[in-house]
C-alpha cells in the first residue's frame, strides 16, 4: 500500500498514513486533489478509481471516507477488506466507533493501524491479537499512571 487517508464528508483530513517517501508539498497536493475526486463520486459507483497512475480504493463508513492507494499488482477487493478489517478493529476498541472517536483519539487510531498494517503490509494476525497488543500497552500505561498519581497525591499532601 502506498498511503491511507481518512477524511470527512467536508473534506477535512482525520488521519493520514504514508508508506512511501514523498515531500510535504506532494503529499498536500495529492491529498487535496484526491479528496476532491473521491467526494465527487456518486454513491452507486464502484469503489475503485484509477487516478493518475495510482489505483485508489475507497469506502464510506457513516461520515468518514477511508481511502487507500495501492500498487498496480495489488488486489482491489482485498484492499476493501483491509479497510473493513480496520473499521472492525476500531469498532471493537472504541465500542461502536464514530467519527468523533477518531477525531479526538486519533493517536489511538494510528496505534491500531500500525499494529494491523506494518509498513504498508498486512500482518496476518487475528483480530484478537491486534487488539491485545494495543490493550497491553494501555494497561501498562494505566498501571504506571495510577502509581505515579498516588505518589504525587501524597507528594501534594506533603507540600501543602
Amino acid at each position: 500500500m502506498q498511503f491511507m487517508l481518512l477524511f470527512s464528508r467536508q473534506g477535512k483530513l482525520r488521519l493520514q498514513k504514508w508508506y512511501v517517501p514523498l515531500s510535504d508539498k506532494e503529499k498536500k497536493k495529492i491529498t487535496r486533489e484526491l479528496v476532491q475526486t473521491v467526494l465527487a463520486r456518486k454513491p452507486k459507483m464502484c469503489s475503485f478509481l484509477e487516478w493518475r497512475d495510482l489505483k485508489i480504493v475507497y469506502k464510506r463508513y457513516a461520515s468518514l471516507y477511508f481511502c487507500c492507494a495501492i500498487e498496480d499488482q495489488d488486489n482491489e477487493l482485498i484492499t476493501l477488506e483491509i479497510i473493513h478489517r480496520y473499521v472492525e478493529l476500531l469498532d471493537k476498541y472504541f465500542g461502536s466507533v464514530c467519527e468523533l472517536d477518531i477525531i479526538f483519539n486519533f493517536e489511538k487510531a494510528y496505534f491500531i493501524l500500525d499494529e494491523f498494517l506494518l509498513g504498508g503490509e498486512v500482518q496476518e494476525t487475528s483480530k484478537k491479537n491486534v487488539l491485545k497488543a494495543i490493550e497491553q500497552a494501555d494497561l501498562l500505561q494505566e498501571k504506571t499512571e495510577t502509581m505515579y498519581h498516588s505518589r504525587s497525591f501524597i507528594g501534594c499532601k506533603k507540600a501543602y
Binding site: M45, E76, L77, E81, Y93, F104, F106, E124, H149
Partner: protein, 523 residues
C-alpha cells in the same frame, strides 16, 4: 449575539484549558476536556480558512513556547505532541517540534514513548537529518526487558529507519528472530523486510534465517516472511523454485481450514495469506510447466472452495484466476477461471463488474474468445453511468480493436475524451487513439478527421511524438502514390476549412501541424 462574540466564547474553553493540568489515568477515550479536544472544538466552530489559520498559528506559538520551556514535563510534552500532529495534519508546519518528538521517544515512559515514536513516524522521512538521533533510542529499546518497548522499537524500524545505520541494529533484530514470543518474532521479520526493501545487500547473509521464519510454528511469523519472499521471488524466481512445494503445502493447509479459528475473517480462513501465496505461486509457475504442475491441485481446490457470497471470497477468486492465467496453462483450470470471469462481468454488483472487465483485459491476449462471449455486456458497459467502468471498458476494447470495429471503438473513445477533464486520462487515451488510427484506419478521410479530433482535444498535453509521427506519415506517405496524394490533399483542404472557422480556439500543437501541412504540402 454578534458572530465575533459567539466565536470567542466557543474558543474560550480551549484557551482556558491550556492553563490547567490534565490529570487522571489515560483512559480509553480522551475526555472532551483534553487540550486536543479544546483545539478541535475551537477549529470546528470557525467558519473561514483565515480564522482557522489564526487559531492554529496561535496554538503553534504557544506550543513552541511550551516545548522549549525547561519546566515542561514529559506528560505535557506528550499532550503537546498530539496537538502538533493534529496541526500538521491540517497542513501547517510544526517542524520545531520534530526534535522534541525524538526526545519524547527517548525519555518518555510507555505511552509517552509510544506517542513520541508515532510522531517521529509521521513527521520525519527516510532522509531527514534528525532521523539519525533516533538510532540510539531504538538500540536501547531493542534491548529492553519490557517487551512492549521492544515491540515499539521494532515497529518504528519497520516504518522508518536511516539506511546507513542498519548495521547498528541488524544483529539485535536477528537475535529477536528466535524470541519466544510470536509477536516479537513477527515484528522482527517485518523489520528485516523493511531492510530488504531499502538495502537488500545488507540482509544478503541472513536468507537462511528467512527460511526458518517460513517454517515457524506460528502462522503470523510465517505470513510475515511471505512479504520478503514475494519480493525476492519477483526479482529472481528461479532461485526459489525449490520452495514451491512448501508454498503449495501451506496453501493447502490454509484452504483446508487447518489454521486456528482466530485467523478466520468472516469464516474465510486467512484470506490475506491465501492471496499472498497465490501471488507467489503465480510468479513461480510462470513459463515453467514442471513447477506449474505442482500447483494445479491446490488452485483447483481454491477455486472450488471460494463459493461463499462474500467480498473476500471474490477477492481470493480474482487472485486465483490471475494466477491460473499467469502460470503454464492447463485447460480445465482455464475453463473454470473463464467461468469465474464470466460471473464477475455479469454480476450486478458494480465492483465485481469492474474486476471482471479488468480480468478480461488481462486474459484477452491468451483467450480472445472470452471477450466475444461477453460482448453484449461489454457494449452495455460502454454506456454505464460510472466513468470508471467506461474507462475500463475502453481499455478492454483497445486490446481487441481490429480493422472491422475500429471506427466504432475510436468514436466511443473520442466521446469519452471530450467529457474527460483529467490530464492523465487525456494523455493516455490520446496516445491510444492515435495508435489505433494509424494501424487500422479504413480510409484517408477518416484518418485525417480522427487525428484532427485528437489534436483539438489533446493538443497541448499530448506526447510530442504523436504530431511528429503524423507529419512524418504525411510527408513520407504509404506505398501507393495516388493514395498519398489524396491523403495530403484531404489534409490540406480540411485544415484550410478549419482555419477559416471564426471564434474557435485550437491548441498550439494543432496549429503547428496545420501550418506545417498547409505550408509544405499545398501546391
Amino acid at each position: 449575539m454578534s458572530d465575533i462574540v459567539e466565536k470567542t466564547l466557543t474558543a474560550l474553553p480551549g484557551l482556558f484549558l491550556q492553563n490547567q493540568s490534565v490529570g487522571g489515568p489515560a483512559g480509553v477515550k480522551a475526555s472532551f476536556s483534553s487540550r486536543l479536544g479544546g483545539l478541535v472544538r475551537g477549529i470546528t466552530a470557525l467558519t473561514s480558512k483565515h480564522e482557522e489559520e489564526k487559531l492554529i498559528q496561535q496554538e503553534l506559538s504557544s506550543l513552541k513556547a511550551t516545548v522549549s520551556a525547561p519546566t515542561t514535563t514529559l506528560k505535557m510534552m506528550k499532550e503537546c505532541m498530539v496537538r502538533l500532529i493534529y496541526c500538521e495534519m491540517l497542513g501547517y508546519d510544526a517542524s520545531f517540534g520534530y526534535i522534541h518528538a525524538i526526545k519524547l521517544a527517548q525519555q518518555g515512559n510507555l505511552l509517552e514513548k509510544r506517542v513520541g515514536y508515532l510522531a517521529v513516524s509521521l513527521f520525519l522521512h527516510e532522509n531527514h537529518e534528525l532521523l539519525l538521533l533516533l538510532v540510539n533510542t531504538v538500540v536501547k529499546d531493542l534491548q529492553s526487558t519490557n517487551l512492549v518497548e521492544v515491540c515499539m522499537a521494532l515497529t518504528i524500524v519497520s516504518q522508518i529507519f536511516p539506511r546507513e545505520m542498519i548495521p547498528a541494529v541488524l544483529p539485535l533484530i536477528e537475535d529477536k528472530l528466535q524470541h519466544s514470543k510470536e509477536i516479537i518474532r513477527r515484528k522482527a521479520v517485518l523489520a528485516l523486510y523493511k531492510f530488504y526493501l531499502i538495502a537488500p545487500n545488507q540482509v544478503q547473509h541472513i536468507h537462511i534465517k528467512f527460511r526458518k521464519a517460513l517454517c515457524d510454528r506460528d502462522v503470523g511469523v510465517m505470513a510475515a516472511s511471505l512479504h520478503i519472499y514475494f519480493r525476492m521471488i519477483k526479482e529472481n524466481s528461479s532461485g526459489y523454485k525449490d520452495l514451491t512445494g512448501s508454498f503449495v503445502t501451506i496453501l493447502k493447509q490454509v484452504v483446508g481450514g487447518k489454521l486456528p479459528v482466530d485467523f478466520n475473517y468472516h469464516s474465510v480462513p486467512a484470506p490475506w495469506l491465501q492471496i499472498q501465496l497465490l501471488r507467489i505461486l503465480g510468479l513461480l509457475g510462470k513459463d515453467d510447466q514442471r513447477t506449474s504442475e505442482l500447483m494445479y491441485d491446490v488452485l483447483d481446490e481454491s477455486l472450488r472452495r471460494a463459493e461463499l457470497n462474500h467480498n473476500v471470497t471474490y477477492a481470493i477468486l480474482f487472485e486465483c484466476v490471475h494466477t491460473v492465467y499467469s502460470i503454464y496453462p492447463k485447460s480445465e483450470l482455464l475453463e473454470k477461471a473463464a467461468k469465474c470471469i464470466g460471473k464477475f462481468v455479469l454480476s450486478p454488483k458494480i465492483n465485481l463488474k469492474y474486476l471482471g472487465l479488468k480480468a478480461l483485459t488481462y486474459v484477452i491476449q491468451q483467450d480472445p474468445t472470452l471477450a466475444l462471449q461477453h460482448q453484449m455486456t461489454i457494449i452495455e458497459c460502454l454506456d454505464h453511468p460510472d466513468p470508471i467502468i467506461k474507462r475500463e471498458t475502453l481499455e478492454l476494447l483497445y486490446r481487441i480493436t481490429n480493422a472491422q470495429n475500429v471506427i466504432v471503438i475510436v468514436q466511443k473513445m473520442l466521446e469519452y475524451l471530450h467529457q474527460s477533464k483529467e490530464e492523465y486520462i487525456i494523455v493516455n487515451l490520446v496516445g491510444k487513439i492515435a495508435e489505433l488510427a494509424e494501424k487500422y484506419a479504413p480510409d484517408n478521410a477518416w484518418f485525417i478527421q480522427t487525428m484532427n479530433a485528437v489534436f483539438s482535444v489533446g493538443g497541448d498535453v499530448m506526447h510530442p511524438d504523436i504530431p511528429n509521427n503524423f507529419m512524418r506519415l504525411l510527408a513520407e506517405g504509404f506505398d501507393d502514390e495516388t493514395e498519398d496524394q489524396q491523403l495530403r490533399l484531404y489534409a490540406v483542404q480540411s485544415y484550410l476549412t478549419l482555419l477559416d472557422v471564426e471564434n474557435v480556439f485550437y491548441p498550439q500543437k494543432f496549429l503547428q501541424v496545420m501550418s506545417w501541412v498547409d505550408a509544405s504540402l499545398s501546391f
